[in-house]
Symmetry: C2
Subunit: 340 residues, 2 copies
């Protein structure tokens, strides 16, 4: 098993997102333009808020995946740009609302909407993006598509509700954790792939492989996100470390640490977690991290991410080889080895 935090230094082997998305980079900027056009002419304030929120150096991962898949399938109709914008809009809405719930002031090194506009405006801005994204997806001719998108949004919200309900539950099981991140994160990845396949007229088997790719990539994405929250460099992730624990989110590394710890470590761990619950402070965060590391929980968590990535890879390899498939495969490495 690779020792996790050390692996991050190997990150320079991994291509950057703009390299990975090179086959669709020009089209990704059209997605960006489309998103920007949504607030329309009516409300200058809304336009300003939306522009400042979109203009964060977003990674546009979901639109990128969507366009790679439609590219791979030789789709030529242009409705994929609109759909990619709708998917990103749903993601953006959920980020804006998540930041309110988590009281996050920074994301990707930029001020969050919460920090810029306050909770009230941010709440309404998130609502706007939710509604607008579903509404715009209605222009796609296939009417199953908006249904699937709305269904993914609903799953995401349900996942967030369930996660919130499990706050500070230090007995959270691995199974329940995986179920929650499937809803909260992986369902939108999976739906992105499903929608791309459907729009481009992929066959049943191909759609199934795409869904498998999306689901496992999404799960791996959340697991590495949880790791980065512990060991990422704030200068690279653009957000402070330990935000999950501070907000009472029990993630896989903590679940594993509690399971693997010997009696004395478990006692220290629990007392730290209890302290966080009571005071939102662990006292000594670096010490807590060392404790988690010492149980081997980070390595085991990374092992889980590697396993999910393997599933995503095997699914992608069911597609016929192409430049686009190459990017989809590289993206798996990116998700695994990223530093942000």
């Amino acid at each position: 098993m690779t020792a996790y935090p050390e692996t991050l230094t190997a990150q320079n082997r991994v291509p950057s997102l703009s390299e990975i998305f090179r086959p669709v980079n020009r089209r990704l900027s059209q997605v960006d333009c489309t998103l920007r056009s949504w607030p329309g002419q009516t409300s200058p304030l809304l336009r300003t808020m939306a522009a400042r929120t979109i203009s964060r150096p977003g990674k546009l991962i979901r639109p990128g995946i969507l366009l790679l898949i439609t590219g791979h399938l030789g789709y030529r109709d242009g409705q994929d740009i609109l759909l990619a914008a709708a998917v990103e809009g749903i993601h953006l809405a959920s980020l804006i609302h998540d930041d309110i719930i988590d009281r996050s002031t920074y994301r990707r090194g930029e001020k969050t909407a919460l920090q810029r506009f306050g909770p009230d405006f941010s709440l309404l801005l998130g609502d706007f993006f939710f509604i607008r994204s579903i509404a715009r997806s209605l222009s796609v001719r296939d009417r199953k598509i908006p249904e699937m998108l709305a269904e993914a949004a609903r799953m995401m919200i349900e996942g967030e509700i369930e996660e919130l309900a499990e706050s500070y539950n230090f007995n959270l099981s691995r199974t329940r954790y995986l179920k929650i991140i499937e809803k909260k994160t992986a369902s939108l990845f999976q739906t992105t792939c499903r929608l791309a396949g459907r729009l481009a007229g992929a066959g049943r088997k191909e759609v199934k492989a795409l869904e498998e790719y999306g689901l496992n990539l999404g799960l791996a994405f959340q697991v590495t996100d949880d790791l980065l929250d512990l060991v990422g460099q704030p200068s690279r992730t653009g957000k402070p470390t330990f935000s999950d624990l501070r907000e009472g989110r029990v993630t896989l590394p903590v679940i594993y640490a509690l399971k693997r710890a010997d009696r004395s470590s478990r006692h220290k761990l629990e007392s730290s977690l209890h302290n966080i619950k009571e005071n939102k402070e662990a006292g000594d965060w670096p010490q807590l991290l060392e404790l988690i590391k010492s149980t081997g929980a980070l390595d085991q968590t990374f092992g889980q991410a590697v396993g999910l990535a393997g599933k995503a890879r095997r699914a992608a390899l069911k597609l016929k080889p192409s430049l686009y498939r190459q990017s989809l495969l590289q993206l798996i490495d990116f998700v695994l080895w990223r530093e942000r």
Copy 2:
């Protein structure tokens, strides 16, 4: 001009909502059941939250209007129940989010979702209802219908953003106020009528009359709501008085009072408003109300509501006479004379 607060004592002349909606009461309870079924089987917590939120003694005004119109037009397909639930779901989502923004603890005499579940769960519960309502409306065969509903939701959110941006702007003009309440409140009433007409296959002229009815009824509804916030009995409205001013919402009575006040009253008014802006306290609320009353602003505001009600009435009278039209007409009186 009728002196406004006194007119409220005449309220017993006005039929109750359950009398008004008698022709559709049985079908309204189907709307209620439909709404309750939306959280589905997956998330017990979400189901509980949704049930407790829906179970407030809601007035179901928008669904009632929708069903009265489809009844009037002889529609028999049953899709109007679903659509009425979707409209109410959008309204519910917006109430839940509004209560977060306004920090409202009571509405219609019941605890708000905010008060029951806290801001984080309420935020996600509102998101759920927004997404679910649009998603469910996709089952209606006419695909223009979800588009119109999403458009109304967008308008509503834009109206709320604009209202928020005008907080504590004591120079707000009547024109701008009317534009904001048109977006924030009247657009969903108008769309409800438009959707009902379209679903039931009304002719172009009939749809136009229905839209006029909905728009003006919605405007009158908001204007009387603003009056009730000043002179309503909390025991009847189910919420505290002066919440608008406390939150910095400048409503028509205040706009008129500032315009009509003589120099000395205007000075007192402005100093009260300044006090609210700084401390969220007017010092002496009853005195502030007396000051507003003394300018004749309440009567003028009520006059405005009467005017809008008249427009709604003239629009409704363009429809052919029926039991349902009778209810639509009674509803105008209800909106004007209601105490809650």
